[in-house]
């Protein structure tokens, strides 16, 4: 299991655009990828699940990957977060 914590920097929070980018980035991985915010956890492969958390700009979130390709998944999340200025 791999974990990484981010602070959301995208001005609109984890809304439509950033959310769909993250979800489409992790969907191909076999590992379970989840996102935790304010003690609630959602499947990072579900747009509705992630958007439903209402993650706002400046929020602290933790992304967890668990499975065969967990480190690749986290690396991909890391990449998208930075490249698209979603979080750091």
């Amino acid at each position: 299991m791999e974990k990484k914590t981010y602070t959301i920097t995208s001005s609109e929070g984890l809304h439509a655009r950033p959310c769909s980018m993250l979800v489409s980035a992790v969907t191909p991985f076999k590992s379970e990828v989840t996102i935790t915010y304010k003690e609630r956890t959602a499947n990072l492969k579900s747009i509705m699940g992630v958007m439903g958390m209402g993650i706002e700009s400046g929020a602290q979130v933790e992304v967890t990957a668990d499975g065969a390709d967990e480190s690749e998944a986290i690396a991909k999340v890391d990449d998208i977060m930075k490249k698209e200025s979603i979080g750091e």
Partner: protein
């Protein structure tokens, strides 16, 4: 098809129950017997109006819930049809019971199609069940327009056959008997009867009065009259009662007591009064083949009586009363007794043989639900256990007024929704519970709801016996079934134009990064739920709302583009996350003017975030009103 005809037959049993008593009143009140016009008229009130009574009975019987709304539609349909045709074809025009049967069928079918139709708000008063009599009237008006042209030629053909049989000897008499019975369901037998009974031949009686027609001539003492009347006595006094005996003998053992009383009374009515409709309609639709046999045997009886030179007649009908009253006028009337016994034996043997061999569904042999019920109750499968507990959790038989269901939900009318035990419902498989009002509740079950609802309906009828075993019961809540959404289960959430997602000026949506869907250029003030399901996500700024159908399809409605920056201004959320909703529930008020002024666009993408593009079908384009269905469909 056969099944459908049998349902008509079954529906007729209800009105038929009134007929024996009416027939007796009608016959006994005649002037040749007790001469009590008000008694006779009371009976005639029913017998003469069989058509509309059948229209009501059939419409009610065909309606899936036996609703009075359907019955009303049947009556209205019949009145529209006959009135409309009589204006053109003359006051005396009649299609007999045929008009009633047609009206009943049309009303019943339209009821099942439209009983829950939703009309736009300003027409809402006319929606639902109230719409059924309206649409039935419209249909019958069109049908009357067609029949006005189609019916007279048919009538003319029958009329010319009627003229032919008059002088065609035994064959003519036999043909007459056959057609006289065969045409009863169409009402056209009146055409033939009028020719034969009231117009055929003329006779001058002792006082010099000239009378026409078989009946009039017979009653005035014309010795040549009677060949078209005599043969009915063996049928009505012996044949049809014997047919009833055969149906009784062939009825299922456990049904004999129930059908026995009915069969005896209609047999006795036929024997005594010669009113045969109760018997004939009792098996005409349930087993048409027997009806054809009956018509053939009537023809045979007419021919035999003709060949034995029997001249007997009736002023009313060929029952025992007329047999005795007119005995003095008749020639060879005693011969009718042995002929009748032979005919009766034939009826019994042929009917019994055909019923058993062909497994015909005569009264007491129908595959009605009771049979299925018995086996189902004891099979104790999970559905039965769930049905039992669901009924109990809803407050039991006394509290449940009506059970209806849609794709995923039970929709119930109850006396008092306060007594519903939500915890218990969920323990036995419900995914959600929603109280709409004091008397209306919904239970989210999933796509298997149909089986549960049908099991519950059966149990409503047999007193909801407790299932024998419960150990086998796995309390698994049903997994979210296939992610599918039929076209009827997605309603337009707001008035507006549907556009292609690719025309939405934002790549996140246009390139389907969030999933497939469509865009709406909204023209209303409120977003309504397009689906039955629950609210799964509401973004803190209220500009987007995520829904999930009971079947697991996710629907995201995102009002306007870049509206996250409005920070909630222009939006008023009416629901909360996790709340169960049904189609049409108001979700979100929007201030279009404010959004237009402060965001790049008001276009509202509706995205199916967990559906493959290939499985989503957009069915409509352009302007659509809120509540319109068949907008999209999601395949498994």
């Amino acid at each position: 098809m056969m099944n459908f005809i049998q349902r008509i037959g079954k529906s007729l049993m209800f009105p038929i129950a009134t007929l024996p008593a009416a027939a007796l009143l009608l016959r006994l009140g005649q002037e040749d017997l007790f001469d009590l016009p008000f008694i006779a008229a009371a009976g005639a009130g029913i017998i003469d109006n069989l058509a509309i009574i059948f229209a009501i009975g059939i419409a009610m019987g065909l309606a899936h819930d036996n609703s009075g709304g359907s019955a009303l539609a049947g009556a209205v349909g019949y009145l529209v049809l006959t009135n409309s045709m009589q204006v053109v074809l003359g006051e005396d025009f009649t299609m007999g019971v045929f008009g009633g049967i047609i009206s009943g069928i049309v009303a019943g079918l339209l009821y099942n199609r439209f009983y829950n139709i939703k009309l736009p708000d300003f027409l809402a008063f006319f929606g639902g069940k109230r719409f059924v009599p309206i649409v039935t009237s419209a249909t019958m008006t069109i049908l009357a327009g067609i029949l006005i042209f189609a019916w007279p030629p048919v009538q003319n053909v029958i009329d010319s056959i009627g003229n032919w049989v008059l002088n065609a000897g035994a064959l003519g008499v036999g043909t007459y008997g056959f057609l006289n019975r065969l045409l009863i369901p169409t009402g056209l037998h009146h055409v033939i009867n009028t020719v034969v009974w009231f117009d055929f031949g003329s006779f001058t009686d002792a006082s010099g009065t000239v009378v026409k027609g078989e009946i009039n001539r017979f009653l005035k003492g014309d010795p040549t009259a009677g060949p078209f009347l005599s043969g009915f006595f063996p049928i009505m006094m012996f044949g049809l009662p014997a047919a009833c005996l055969a149906m009784y003998a062939a009825a299922k053992k456990e049904k004999k007591a129930i059908v026995g009383g009915m069969l005896f009374s209609i047999a006795f009515t036929s024997f005594l009064t010669g009113i045969t409709e109760p018997i004939e309609f009792a098996f005409m639709f349930l087993s048409p083949v027997l009806y054809v046999v009956h018509a053939l045997l009537t023809g045979a009886s007419m021919m035999i009586s003709y060949m034995f030179d029997v001249h007997h007649g009736f002023g009313f009908s060929a029952g025992a009363i007329d047999y005795v009253l007119n005995f003095g006028l008749a020639q060879n009337p005693l011969l009718l007794i042995p002929i009748g016994l032979v005919i009766g034996a034939l009826y019994f043997v042929i009917f019994y043989f055909l019923i058993v061999k062909l497994d015909l569904k005569t009264p007491g042999r129908e595959d009605d639900d009771d049979m299925v019920e018995d086996t189902a109750v004891y099979s104790d499968d999970i559905v039965e256990v769930k049905a039992y507990h669901t009924i109990e959790a809803l407050g039991g038989l006394d509290n449940i007024q009506a059970i209806d269901y849609c794709t995923t939900r039970l929709r119930l009318t109850v006396k008092n929704s306060d007594v519903v035990d939500e915890k218990q419902l969920k323990r036995y498989g419900a995914m959600g519970y929603m109280k709409i009002s004091k008397t209306n509740v919904q239970v989210v079950i999933g796509t298997a709801v149909e089986f549960l609802a049908e099991a519950m309906k059966r149990r409503m009828k047999n007193g909801n016996p407790a299932p024998k075993t419960e150990e086998s019961m796995e309390l698994d809540t049903q997994p979210h079934a296939v992610k599918a959404l039929p076209a009827s289960d997605f309603h337009m959430p707001i008035d507006g134009d549907i556009i292609d997602l690719s025309e939405v000026p934002d790549d996140v949506f246009a390139k389907e990064m969030m999933g497939p869907g469509f865009g709406i250029m909204p023209k209303g003030k409120t977003i309504h739920s397009p689906i039955d399901g629950k609210v799964v996500s509401v973004f803190p700024t209220n500009h987007a709302i995520g829904l999930e159908t009971d079947t697991g399809v996710e629907v995201l409605i995102h009002v306007g583009l870049d509206t996250v920056k409005l920070n909630g201004k222009g939006f008023e959320l009416l629901v909360e996350s996790g709340q169960l909703i049904q189609r049409g529930d108001a979700l979100l008020n929007i201030d279009l003017d404010y959004i237009k002024a402060n965001a790049p666009s008001v276009v509202t993408p509706v995205i199916f975030t967990n559906v493959e593009k290939a499985n989503l079908h957009i069915l409509k384009k352009g302007f659509q009103r809120k509540g319109t269905d068949s907008i999209v469909k999601v395949d498994e």
